[in-house]
Symmetry: C2
Subunit: 278 residues, 2 copies
């Protein structure tokens, strides 16, 4: 199985990479969970084309994910054209892995299909302009994309989500020829990881911070964040990155309007794209 080429970690190693402490192998550990746990974002790709049928297999996995009331309010655009990938890489703030990876999947919140179905059957679709319906499309697209990611990784492929497709949603929509009521939620690079530029499993907040039992409880927050700050700094050091910690990254990103990198105008962009968010 090509999957083995990704050097799937032993259970205890994977859990240590995420949480920084040794764990016994949990009961129930299996190849599926090993694939999930060994996820890392890949930003270095080989130029090799993907085997024939790969896109269709990833989309079959994506369509197998749940979708709200089976409405399937999402679509995906598969871009292979080098010139288009180069253009999108620039729009994403010069992320060269978009140019490198042979396949770039753009996941859409797509209410336009429901609009067309209504038009064909003479029903004005008055439920579409609502915030709720937009959320359904965003969630549908996300569940689908994550299944595609898991499928890709099981095939030995690497992926990385590209949120900066939201930097200029109108221009991305123009490039892809999107109809109104359709928007790119994020992109996804897919390709063979370059073994010369490996990426590591990234540590995450401890479960005491993220998992709440019965009711929300922030009592462990400060301690958990401090512990994570230490682990994340050690990770940055081990990876040869600037040791900036995690808190400063969160503050840089969310502590100012400038940190949103222009995406503070998302509301305006969504209105322009046909999502009034009533």
């Amino acid at each position: 199985m090509p999957h083995d080429q990704m050097m799937t970690p032993q259970p205890s190693d994977a859990l240590q990479a995420r949480y920084g402490v040794r764990h016994e192998t949990p009961s129930g550990w299996n190849p599926v969970i090993a694939t999930l746990m060994s996820h890392r974002s890949v930003r270095g790709y080989l130029p090799d084309a993907l085997p024939a049928g790969t896109t269709e297999l990833l989309v079959a996995a994506a369509q197998s994910a749940a979708t709200s009331s089976n409405m399937q309010l999402w679509s995906v655009v598969a871009v292979q054209d080098q010139a288009v990938r180069d253009k999108l890489a620039i729009l994403a703030g010069n992320q060269k892995h978009i140019s490198e990876a042979p396949l770039f999947l753009l996941w859409l919140c797509d209410l336009s299909r429901a609009e067309r179905i209504g038009a064909q059957h003479g029903h004005p679709m008055t439920g579409l302009p609502f915030t709720e319906t937009f959320m359904v499309g965003v969630v549908d697209a996300s569940l689908a994309a994550q299944n595609a990611v898991v499928a890709a990784e099981s095939l030995g492929l690497g992926t990385v989500y590209i949120g900066s497709m939201r930097n200029d949603p109108e221009q991305v929509a123009e490039i892809l020829g999107l109809p109104p009521q359709t928007m790119v939620v994020f992109g996804l690079c897919v390709g063979l990881p370059d073994p010369q530029r490996p990426s590591a499993i990234k540590p995450r907040l401890s479960q005491s911070v993220v998992l709440h039992h019965e009711r929300y409880n922030a009592d462990h927050d400060a301690q958990g964040v401090q512990d994570y700050e230490d682990r994340f700094s050690a990770f940055q050091k081990a990876e040869g990155m600037p040791v900036a910690g995690w808190v400063s990254r969160v503050v840089d990103r969310l502590g100012s309007v400038a940190g949103l990198g222009g995406r503070d105008r998302m509301r305006t962009a969504l209105t322009a794209l046909g999502f009034p968010l009533k």
Copy 2:
């Protein structure tokens, strides 16, 4: 592997169940893709408790999913208390599987942690009130939850997403003790499927409708939707459901404000919960 107990279909059967036509087994088919492809929503559960450590294993899988800029803008509340599950089942419009399944996971878009981190470090987090940041939290929660679903299914467990946790988001927030800038995106039932009430793999739209190459192209829409209408009606008949087709369900749900089941007030609810969607 308990996974086998779910009677994982043969590749050709799984693809036929989704798309209605025979397919050769795609190259690359593996146990991970088999798990993804055999997804079905489960609404009939045995009352059996889950093995110790299951919640933590699912959350470890969830935390292994990508998260935008590693900000981890999500949390999860694990509800096992029967009285609380009963209350949430009623709020969801009497969905008794929420009472039946031993574990109910509520997935949160959680900007409150970033707010607390900012407060602790003396930074007003002025990037939080934006539509973009809300979207990041919704996507983060969705990617995490989908990994948990895949992990659960690999363990032989069944799941079903509960979007109707958004019917009354303020009351759900009250029950779970959520702080401002936190909201339940959806719930997820987790439990052992009741073999007496099996669920089937649901057909989906053909890839010609959902997958676009290079640019968005709706040319195959009408034909693809008609083909799906026929397949979905045959599925309803085979499952002993009323044969209403798919188009009428989409129109019922999105063709009127009433079809949103009260969720037309989502914008107001989000404002009340601390998401002004600037």
